[in-house]
């Protein structure tokens, strides 16, 4: 890394002081997700009935749950599951939604009409409800939740890329590529996709947070991974019965979830400010 790169990075931070908090939160989340099991102080799943319902202390910073499991360890290890879900959901949604959107924008006509109508049908459902129904139809498990969430997320990517393609198609460089006889695939891969990347990256960053939030919501209502697997939504649900007397069981996984979603939101805003000044949130 050159000093120039470091200086650029510091400048970005200086321009987005508040949003930089998001980068820090995302960094903490990624460290937890990638290396969490290495430094979690206790086993996240082993039962220890002699230590159930311990309030936060020096030994257990976040206390223990109904089965005596250490909540710090469970919260740290839970990050990996959230990241896994977000990774699969967004990959599938971007690939499917993105290619449909590009095709719709590029070829227009009947392709455009049918893809966008299909997207509208998916958008007619409140997202959480659609994900719930699909996941329930597929049975419990992580795959069911990922498919349910991907099904509700792809229309966003289809719309985003379609609108980008519609703009780019009019650009002189695309027209000249067409004029010298480039194939449709070449135009899409070499000229359109690279120019559509900035808004896509911003969208993906924001969506990682929202997918994690939605997945935790599904876990909270009992879809997806089942206890004892440490998942933030499941952990929050597990503390609900004792919320007034044993507040720590639900509170700490919730703080982790909140901080993670906030981190990705702020990072998305930062990226938008830097990469995509035209669509920057006006005056906000």
């Amino acid at each position: 890394m050159t000093t120039q790169m470091i200086r650029n990075f510091l400048n970005i931070i200086r321009r987005n002081k508040f949003e930089s908090l998001g980068l820090l939160l995302v960094l903490i989340f990624l460290i937890m997700a990638l290396f969490g099991p290495l430094f979690a102080p206790y086993s996240p799943t082993a039962l220890n009935l002699s230590e159930q319902f311990q309030p936060p202390s020096l030994r257990h910073w976040f206390g223990t749950d109904a089965n005596g499991r250490d909540i710090v360890s469970r919260t740290i290890v839970g990050a990996r599951l959230s990241l896994t879900i977000a990774f699969w959901v967004i990959s599938v949604a971007t690939v499917i939604g993105g290619s449909l959107g590009i095709m719709a924008g590029f070829w227009g006509g009947l392709v455009d009409e049918s893809v966008m109508r299909l997207a509208d049908v998916f958008l007619a459902f409140p997202s959480l409800i659609l994900a719930m129904a699909i996941a329930a139809a597929l049975g419990t498990g992580l795959t069911a939740v990922c498919i349910g969430l991907a099904a509700t997320w792809w229309p966003g990517y289809a719309r985003l890329l379609r609108s980008r393609v519609l703009v780019l198609r009019q650009e002189p460089f695309v027209e000249s590529a067409r004029a010298i006889g480039c194939s449709a695939w070449r135009i899409i891969l070499r000229h359109i996709i690279p120019n559509a990347l900035s808004p896509l990256i911003v969208q993906i960053t924001l969506d990682v947070g929202y997918v994690i939030l939605a997945a935790a919501g599904l876990g909270f209502i009992g879809l997806g991974v089942q206890p004892p697997t440490p998942e933030w939504g499941v952990m929050i649900a597990a503390g609900r019965e004792y919320i007034l007397s044993k507040w720590w069981i639900s509170t700490f996984p919730g703080v982790a979830l909140f901080a993670t979603v906030l981190g990705f939101n702020l990072s998305g805003d930062l990226l938008r400010n830097e990469l995509d000044p035209l669509t920057r949130r006006r005056a906000c």
Binding site: P126, L128, M132, S250, A283
Partner: protein, 323 residues
């Protein structure tokens, strides 16, 4: 509208008939006998071509036959009569409460910078990221556990007699029948769930109102209004706000869907016996027919609400015309 309705029906059909490995088993329940499963298979026409199955599905819907709950063995349509009004009441109240918080907040934040503006912008950032179901639990700790100012959950105090059932919405029923004490108690029980349900709603609507107000406040007609000496409050609240409302309205329509979906999370937190509460119970017990019926009802409500928003557009902005 016709198209979206058809799309919605096709989607729910696909989810219930095509996706599951054995739809009849899903509808009959995990513990159903082989004969029961066969009976369901026949009733749904699962041995027939898909299009024929869809026709049967539509016919059953038109008859109001949403199937039977695996758990209670009662027709779902009967149970809906108990579970739908509470949700409608909650969402409607939450809309009113949160609109009346978000729009003034957005207006003040745009017209008078300072502390309010800073707070509104913080709220916009945090409100969009907070897990609502967790926030509900935290509110219970604070307002019930520590401050003792609001009830923890439920729709009425256990000692309170519910008003005679007319609509099933306690607020409306007690208002009609003059049960004033019940009305006050029902209102108290609504505050926390409604605020929780509206967290992201307030965040988004405040932000949009603020930015569209900022834009309108810079436009020529506002300068004219100021130049002819109108008091600032009239300029802001009458002239500018009316023209800044349209973008907010779009978001309100979209956020309504989010709110309807959010009831699934919030009603469980506050033991609010509506659709969402029922949905979670159904998920936990694998009561698939109920899950599908709730999906349909919530999505239909969302669709109708969006239609109403479209109509409101025309009323608010005479320039918009639908062909």
């Amino acid at each position: 509208m016709v198209f979206s309705l058809l799309g919605l029906l096709i989607m729910t059909f696909v989810i219930s008939h095509v996706i599951p490995a054995d739809p009849a088993r899903m509808v009959a329940g995990r513990w159903a006998t082989e004969e029961q499963v066969q009976a369901v298979r026949k009733q749904l026409g699962l041995d027939k071509p898909v299009l024929h199955q869809f026709a049967i599905y539509l016919k059953n819907l038109l008859k109001g036959d949403l199937g039977k709950s695996i758990l209670s063995r009662r027709p779902i349509i009967e149970e809906l009569k108990d579970y739908f009004p509470p949700t409608l009441e909650l969402v409607f109240f939450a809309m009113l409460l949160n609109i009346s918080l978000a729009i003034p907040l957005g207006v003040i934040s745009a017209s008078r910078k300072g502390i309010v503006d800073g707070l509104a912008r913080l709220l916009a950032v945090f409100g969009a990221a907070v897990p609502t179901f967790w926030a509900g639990l935290i509110m219970q700790i604070i307002f019930y556990g520590i401050l003792h100012v609001l009830p923890a959950g439920g729709r009425l105090d256990v000692l309170m007699t519910p008003p005679p059932k007319i609509t099933g919405m306690f607020l409306l029923d007690s208002l009609i029948t003059g049960y004033w004490k019940t009305l006050a108690d029902a209102l108290l029980h609504l505050i926390m769930p409604a605020l929780t349900l509206g967290l992201s709603f307030v965040a988004v609507v405040t932000r949009i109102t603020r930015s569209s107000m900022l834009e309108v406040l810079n436009s020529d007609f506002v300068k004219t209004a100021r130049a002819k000496g109108l008091p600032e409050s009239v300029v802001v609240w009458r002239h500018a706000l009316r023209n800044a409302l349209l973008p907010s309205l779009t978001v309100i329509g979209m956020q309504l869907g989010w709110m309807m979906g959010g009831t699934v999370l919030i009603e469980t937190v506050f033991s609010w016996g509506g659709l969402g509460f029922w949905a979670v119970a159904a998920v936990r017990q694998n009561d698939f027919p109920v899950i599908m019926a709730i999906t349909m009802v919530i999505s239909l409500t969302f669709m109708i609400a969006n239609l109403l928003v479209d109509i409101l557009y025309v009323i608010l902005d005479p320039r918009i015309k639908y062909s």
